[in-house]
């Protein structure tokens, strides 16, 4: 862990990026030294990808400045950033799979003679180049003939050739097996020894400790810390990633155990191969079961199985003790389930439709084609739920896309409350919502619980999970690994459970 001393090769100061009403980055500093591998960590929506896009020229910051080797720079586009020495390799290799390895390496800058491409020259140079990366392969074969790991290394070789100062690796290991990861790490270490500054983004904490020198942690568009990984434990890192943003005024533990009613829904060995290991869980009336776990731990996948978005290949579902078949969301809605999905824009709202229509649509889908809610019913239903959830819209007839994120989330909540659900799944209900609305949604969840609803709520913010959950299940590596209840529902205990094995505590 010999983070090179001296002047940073890339420095960003006070970067602000605002999308509409949403502040993606609120004054973030970032500093990368030559010869270091710098991990960038944060949950979805923390601002990681926005920061990366700004560093690599895909976005322009609204405020703040960037310095490359101490000189202020601003990039029009990724090509210009590349010209200045900043290269990026993404999770999905974006090269041309149907062209040869050699062509991919030299695409756009092929050595030519008399306007003709010098194929032999390209191939010889490609072989020499890849030998530096310990890769001896037939460079004339199509890129797609090789494994993703090899393609990644080719992409890295190309990026380093083109840029040569800074290399951004955006989740390069997501689809690699253990050996391939090792191979990739060897390459990264070599590049580090050559003095490149490397930004490494991943969801695997173990890899961070294995490879990186320093870490920068983002949360909700703010930098939480930049620290040397030496002396830092996995628990510390998880705590910083999932830590406290908003103070919540209510904590149900203790009170609610007494109020807990009969089991509303029971999932027995519900699982899907390659997605989630079988989960057994009951959710009771008047209870919130919180789900904690890092991104990629399988938390969203469980919710999708419960709601029939993905069909389970094992297990059964009981509602009030009676088995039900749920192979698609329509069947889930018929069984009285509701689901507020993680990605509101893609899976939740009907942007062009009105607030009123967005609220009544699930009930209408449940009623079927020919039992239409008339206008008066719609107005009454939408008005009642909008008032109960305090939805702020100038008119119920305005398109829902004009509302703020928090109000859109409440519209989707209202949509499910309108079907009078027996079981409600919330996947990241407060993602991308400003602080005020955030606390309000948490209050609403608590109120729904008090009203006797059974809820299953996923969140990456521990304080939030603790604020509304009676019990918390912890997911790790696509498996339910712990269930905490009573006094154990506390941030520290959850962090412990999440961090238990994936990263060896940084011991000397």
């Amino acid at each position: 862990m010999q983070a090179a001393e001296g002047r940073p090769v890339l420095e960003a100061r006070g970067i602000v990026k605002i999308f509409g009403q949403h502040t993606a980055l609120g004054g973030v500093d970032f500093e990368l030294k030559p010869g270091e591998v710098h991990a960038l960590l944060g949950e979805n929506g923390a601002g990681k990808s926005t920061l990366i896009k700004i560093l690599t020229g895909a976005y322009q910051p609204d405020h703040g400045e960037m310095l490359l080797d101490g000189v202020p720079v601003s990039f029009r586009d990724p090509l210009q950033a590349q010209g200045h020495g900043i290269g990026t390799v993404y999770q999905e290799v974006n090269l041309l799979p149907n062209r040869s390895v050699a062509e991919n390496l030299f695409l756009g800058r092929q050595p030519t003679r008399f306007g003709l491409i010098r194929r032999r020259e390209i191939e010889a140079r490609a072989r020499r180049l890849l030998a530096d990366y310990g890769l001896e392969i037939d460079v004339r074969a199509d890129l797609s003939d090789y494994s993703v790991a090899v393609q990644q290394i080719v992409a890295i070789a190309r990026a380093v050739e083109l840029s040569g100062k800074v290399l951004v690796l955006d989740e390069p290991t997501a689809s690699l097996d253990r050996n391939e990861v090792e191979r990739l790490f060897d390459v990264v270490r070599k590049l580090k020894a050559r003095g490149l500054g490397i930004v490494f983004i991943t969801h695997f904490l173990g890899q961070v400790f294995e490879l990186c020198d320093r870490v920068t942690i983002l949360r909700n568009g703010r930098k939480i810390a930049t620290q040397s990984l030496q002396g830092l434990s996995a628990t510390d890192v998880v705590r910083m990633m999932l830590g406290k943003d908003v103070a919540f005024d209510h904590h149900p533990t203790g009170v609610a155990d007494a109020r807990r009613g009969a089991a509303r829904v029971t999932f027995r060995n519900l699982g899907r191969k390659g997605s989630v290991a079988p989960v057994t869980l009951s959710v009771h009336e008047g209870e919130v079961v919180g789900v904690a776990g890092l991104l990629g731990s399988g938390r969203t996948e469980v919710a999708r199985l419960m709601f029939g978005v993905d069909a389970a290949d094992s297990g059964e579902i009981l509602v009030d003790g009676t088995p039900v078949t749920i192979r698609n969301p329509a069947q889930a809605v018929a069984a009285g389930f509701g689901f507020c999905p993680e990605d509101r824009k893609i899976d939740g709202i009907f942007g062009e439709l009105s607030v009123r229509e967005n609220i009544i649509i699930a009930l209408q889908a449940k009623l079927g084609w020919f039992r239409a809610l008339n206008r008066e019913d719609q107005v009454e239903l939408a008005g009642r739920h909008a008032e109960a959830l305090d939805i702020r819209a100038a008119s119920p007839d305005m398109p829902v896309k004009l509302l703020s994120g928090g109000n859109q989330q409440k519209v989707i909540l209202a949509r499910w409350l309108a079907i009078d659900p027996s079981f409600l799944i919330l996947d990241e209900p407060t993602r991308g919502i400003d602080v005020g609305a955030h606390a309000e949604i948490v209050r609403t969840i608590n109120r729904l619980r008090e009203d006797g609803l059974a809820l299953f709520a996923i969140s990456s913010e521990l304080e939030e999970v603790v604020a509304y959950s009676n019990r918390v299940v912890v997911m790790r590596d696509r498996e339910m690994v712990a269930e905490l209840s009573g006094a154990a529902v506390a941030p520290d205990a959850i962090v412990q459970a999440i961090a238990e094995t994936p990263a060896p505590e940084a011991q000397p």
Partner: protein
């Protein structure tokens, strides 16, 4: 938590596309466009608006515009629902040819006309279902899925007619093409009936809202528990049925089934009519009556060019001009320019 903040009074600016009053409806750009085209026609041909009653039916240029517009209007009724789901049906012209060929071949072979009509409609329905299956079960992009039948359908129609134009003298089929009902030409009466029926069906049931929801966001529709596959099947089948009706009218009009030319390129007119009517090709909000208005605008232009003495080729150029204008007006660029101008006006 007692603040009631949603205001249920009518908004100052009606944001939805559905106007509150008849007067508001009549100042829509489509009606202005239709009025303009009709006015130009009247200037070119002063007798344009005169309508006479003769032999128990109405005659006149205006009636002629309605009559000629009917086949495209009927196609547009079905096409509206398809486009509202973010799809498109390129096969309707070919399905017209198939339906006409089936009906003609059957009456010529001696089948009763009622059965021939029923068979033609059933064939249209099956063609539509075929498109629906490709789009939903196989998840093929609608433009490609319906291209299959657009190409193959004309071949099928030629197989039915054995390569020749099958002429007939069946009074029922001829009545569908050229007869009159309550003084109106039969095609106009059919189009009116179909427009009213379809518009009532989608607005009095939940079908309209569900179709719009699927068109706006198919993924969100799935999460909301809408069975979009069944809905899409119905929508494409309905477009096929409309195409068959249109095919019967065109065959009845010329008293024969021409597999090569019946309905040729009419799918494009139908799409144009829907787009002129204000339904976006991106799916979502739709209006069946406005699509019929779109078909009327197209036919009024055609008639205008004919009576003005220009050659018919000119027609295509004018039509493409209209398409370009509409596409520009619907483009994101135009939307942002309009928004900027509005914001500037707001500031000053």
């Amino acid at each position: 938590m007692t603040r009631p903040t949603i205001e249920l009074r009518p908004a100052h600016e009606p944001p939805g596309p559905r106007p509150k009053t008849l007067a508001e409806a009549l100042v829509r750009p489509q009606f202005i466009a239709l009025a303009t085209v009709l006015l130009v026609n009247w200037l070119l041909f002063p007798g344009f608006f005169s309508i006479t009653w003769q032999d128990g039916r109405l005659f006149g240029s205006l009636i002629d515009v309605l009559n000629r517009a009917a086949p495209v209007a009927i196609l547009a009724i079905g096409m509206t629902a398809v486009i509202a789901t973010k799809g498109v049906d390129l096969s309707v012209g070919a399905v017209m040819a198939i339906a006409g060929a089936v009906a003609a071949a059957m009456v010529v072979a001696g089948w009763p006309a009622g059965l021939a009509v029923a068979a033609a409609l059933a064939v249209g329905l099956v063609c539509g279902l075929w498109n629906g299956v490709l789009v939903t079960l196989l998840d093929i992009q609608p433009i490609i899925a319906t291209l299959v039948l657009m190409v193959a359908g004309r071949g099928l129609a030629q197989l039915v007619t054995e390569g020749s134009i099958v002429t007939f003298a069946d009074p029922v089929l001829i009545f569908i093409g050229t007869g009159s009902v309550l003084g109106l030409p039969t095609p106009v009466a059919i189009a009116l009936l179909l427009m009213t029926g379809a518009a009532l069906l989608v607005r009095r049931t939940a079908l309209g809202l569900l179709i719009e929801a699927v068109g706006v966001n198919r993924s969100a529709a799935r999460f909301a528990g809408i069975r979009s596959s069944a809905l899409l099947l119905v929508v494409y089948a309905f477009a096929g049925l409309c195409a068959a009706i249109s095919g019967l009218i065109v065959a009845g009009d010329i008293r024969g089934a021409d597999a090569n030319n019946a309905g040729l390129w009419l799918e494009l007119d139908a799409i144009l009519a829907v787009v002129i009517g204000g339904t976006s090709l991106l799916g979502g909000r739709f209006s069946i009556p406005m699509s019929v208005v779109g078909a009327l605008i197209i036919q009024a232009m055609n008639t205008g060019i004919l009576i003005s003495g220009f050659s018919p080729e000119f027609n295509l150029v004018v039509k493409s001009g209209v398409i370009i204008t509409i596409l520009i007006l619907q483009s994101p660029l135009a939307a942002s320019i309009l928004q900027n101008r509005r914001m500037k006006r707001g500031r000053t």
